[in-house]
């Protein structure tokens, strides 16, 4: 429950005008909606099962969300620029295996993580170059690289697998350990998230990502280096997918050629539920992170409530639609309020 309130920049000393940061407030309202859905869900579950929010329960909840939060953060950046990266699942899988292979020989965990991130950066660059230089639809290109990377992964990995026994004990313990109820992995994810959000809001190049997603033609006319920014977004997304791969390895202690298969849909769901709009230009990484938290928590809530796993999939889908619908309704409300407040002569 760490991923909740975006920090305000320390500008409290300056008095704010009446309409201060209205755009931000819209985002926050939408995040709030997801947060409310999430809290209600957790509340109900806790009422039905008092074990749910035990120390172990909270730790599990956070651990489950961690990897998805990371990948969703990277994905949001790409989606904000009106693109998409479907290859994240494949990238996650291959970098997890690379890190695992390195660690098998008893390597240094830090180097292993760096290796995973570097591999992610490599694939991110590939995607970014194809999309930005080729100026071709991201959906097709990254669906293509999804297949390519997955194919390469399974040719390379074959039927090998890395199991917890192959990894240094410290690495695996790190994956499940933490400070009381807060796992180390969640702390890393949180740090990445907060840094990314701060960057997006307070740095020129971060704002330019929103600008070029909002109107690419106008971005070009405004002299924004469109290709460079898109390339950077993809690279960052790849890097986080790689980092997530290393964390996956630490957490599950188990990687094979199937790792990360089908993950793209989960990531896209998290981002969409989190209110990052697919036509670009709007949404926040906090929203995406909340979306990820919400989605993974659904999978913990239902078993904890004793719902038969036969029902899980159906309920999952319906909740997903509900979350989007609630978000949409809130957004509409906000928009109409905005319109009334800002009518020029009203």
């Amino acid at each position: 429950m760490t991923v909740v309130t975006p920090q305000e920049a320390p500008v409290a000393d300056v008095p704010k005008s009446s309409g201060t940061r209205l755009v931000d407030r819209v985002f926050k309202m939408r995040e709030l909606a997801i947060l409310v859905v999430f809290l209600v869900m957790i509340g109900i579950t806790q009422a039905g099962n008092s074990e749910f929010l035990s120390e172990q329960g909270i730790k599990d909840l956070l651990l489950n969300a961690t990897i998805l939060v990371l990948v969703a953060t990277g994905q949001s950046l790409v989606v904000i620029t009106r693109n998409v990266d479907l290859s994240v699942g494949s990238t996650l899988g291959i970098s997890a295996f690379a890190a695992g292979t390195y660690l098998q020989g008893g390597g240094n965990p830090v180097v292993a993580i760096a290796l995973a991130v570097l591999l992610g950066i490599g694939f991110g660059l590939l995607n970014g170059l194809l999309v930005s230089l080729g100026q071709v639809p991201a959906l097709v290109v990254t669906l293509g690289t999804l297949y390519i990377i997955r194919g390469i992964d399974s040719i390379w990995v074959g039927s090998r697998q890395i199991t917890a026994a192959d990894l240094p004990g410290g690495f695996v313990d790190f994956g499940s350990g933490g400070i009381s109820a807060v796992p180390y992995l969640a702390l890393i994810a949180l740090a990445v998230l907060v840094a990314t959000a701060y960057y997006l809001k307070h740095f020129g190049s971060g704002r330019e990502l929103y600008a070029l997603g909002s109107n690419p033609e106008a971005a070009r006319l405004a002299g924004i280096p469109v290709r460079k920014r898109i390339l950077a977004a993809y690279t960052f997304c790849g890097a986080l997918a790689g980092l997530a791969g290393a964390m996956y390895l630490a957490r599950f202690g188990n990687v094979d050629s199937g790792t990360g298969n089908g993950y793209e849909l989960t990531v896209v769901s998290a981002v969409v539920v989190g209110g990052v709009v697919f036509t670009g230009g709007s949404g926040s990484v906090y929203g995406a992170a909340l979306g990820a938290l919400l989605l993974t928590s659904i999978n913990s809530v239902l078993p904890a409530l004793g719902v038969s796993s036969v029902w899980v999939l159906a309920i999952n889908g319906i909740l997903l639609i509900l979350a989007i619908a609630v978000d949409r309704i809130v957004a509409l409300r906000v928009a109409s309020a905005l319109k009334k407040r800002n009518a020029r002569h009203g």
């Binding site: 194809l130 080729g134 100026q135 071709v136 639809p137 959906l139 097709v140 290109v141 669906l143 293509g144 690289t145 999804l146 297949y147 390519i148 990377i149 997955r150 194919g151 390469i152 399974s154 040719i155 089908g262 849909l265 896209v268 769901s269 969409v272 539920v273 709009v277 697919f278 036969v310 029902w311 899980v312 999939l313 159906a314 309920i315 999952n316 889908g317 319906i318 997903l320 639609i321 989007i324 619908a325 949409r328 309704i329 509409l332």
Partner: protein, 336 residues
């Protein structure tokens, strides 16, 4: 003036070229395989090829229309699975198959309608909605049929879905597909309905201002997609003689990949059905050939990926070259 139209024509044909290129590529692959791949050219193999590709082709029909109008339905495979599951469950109840099939088709219509209403009435993005219903419909299928696998459908139906006409390469089911294909081609490319889909896909707002009933058209499309998906689900269960809740899992990605390969632009407003269907059968044929040549499944995945990337890079390169050429020609044309 003649010169102007010539160079414009070059540019236009470059834009349109990709779907013809896919068609040409398909023919090349077929010719090559007839000549050089053992076991490809015989009627049995070809009927296998067509039969196994049919589910993707069936769903690709409405999917193309949907994508042209700027929307997408990722729940198709789940709708197909749900229809199969309901078919199996009702069959187990002892209901007649002739009653079950219309019920399942109706169910598909309802599934599509739900997607359509969520998109048009609530204004939700179809990508998100159908990721949701992808899970929901599959989940309902699981609730309906549980762990059962129903296999004992009547032989005449199984034979129709899996058999072929005499010793030819044509599966029985291919004929109805051709009829549906013809209907879809006419609907998309020769009717006001199809024309309005292109307009909606290219600019929804402008289409609305032109008096096109955007929401209604989209609702119709989603409903049709649901119907076709359930038809595919029924076909699948009969073709493979197996109704399980997880039938056709992941088929949506195959459809999307094939349609993309056929040059349909996911931003909407562009593409031809011919291209989409060529894309579907190109992927099907390639997979068949590669399997016969003992190319491993993993390498086949890589080939699919490379094809997809080329499918978007290719036309772009062609376009650039041809505009450059047109530009050079124009520069050397003296104007009065």
């Amino acid at each position: 003036m003649a010169d102007i139209s010539l160079s414009r024509a070059v540019r236009r044909s470059a834009l349109k070229r990709w779907d013809s290129a896919v068609g040409a590529l398909l023919i090349v692959v077929l010719l090559f395989s007839f000549g050089f791949v053992d076991g490809f050219g015989n009627a049995l193999n070809l009927s296998f090829l067509i039969g196994n590709t049919l589910p993707i082709a069936l769903i690709a029909l409405p999917m193309t229309l949907l994508v042209v109008s700027g929307e997408i339905d990722l729940s198709v495979a789940s709708t197909a699975g749900l229809s199969g599951a309901v078919m199996g469950a009702l069959w187990n109840q002892g209901m007649a198959i002739e009653t079950i099939i219309p019920i399942c088709l109706l169910l598909g219509v309802v599934c599509g309608l739900i997607n359509g209403l969520l998109v048009t009435k609530l204004g939700l993005p179809s990508l998100a909605v159908t990721i949701g219903t992808l899970a929901a419909y599959r989940g309902i299928a699981q609730i309906v049929l549980g762990s059962d696998a129903v296999t004992d459908f009547p032989t005449q139906y199984l034979d129709f879905a899996a058999g072929r006409i005499g010793d030819t390469f044509i599966p029985y089911a291919f004929l109805p597909f051709l009829v549906l294909l013809a209907i879809a081609v006419v609907a998309l490319h020769a009717t006001p309905f199809g024309r309005s889909l292109f307009a909606i896909g290219a600019s929804e707002e402008a289409a609305r201002f032109a008096g096109i009933r955007v929401k209604r058209q989209k609702l119709i499309l989603f409903t049709l997609t649901g119907l076709m998906a359930s038809l595919t689900g029924i076909f699948w269960a009969l073709h493979y003689a197996s109704a399980r809740y997880d039938n056709a899992t992941g088929l949506e990605l195959s459809v999307v990949a094939a349609v993309l390969l056929g040059g349909i632009d996911f931003d909407g407003g562009k593409g031809t059905l011919g291209g989409a269907i060529a894309g579907v059968f190109l992927l099907g044929a390639l997979q068949n050939v590669m399997s016969l040549q003992d190319v491993s499944a993993q390498s086949q995945i890589v080939v699919t990926g490379v094809l997809l990337v080329l499918s978007v890079l290719g036309p772009r390169v062609v376009r650039q070259i041809s505009t450059a050429r047109a530009g050079r020609r124009a520069a050397s044309t003296p104007t009065s």
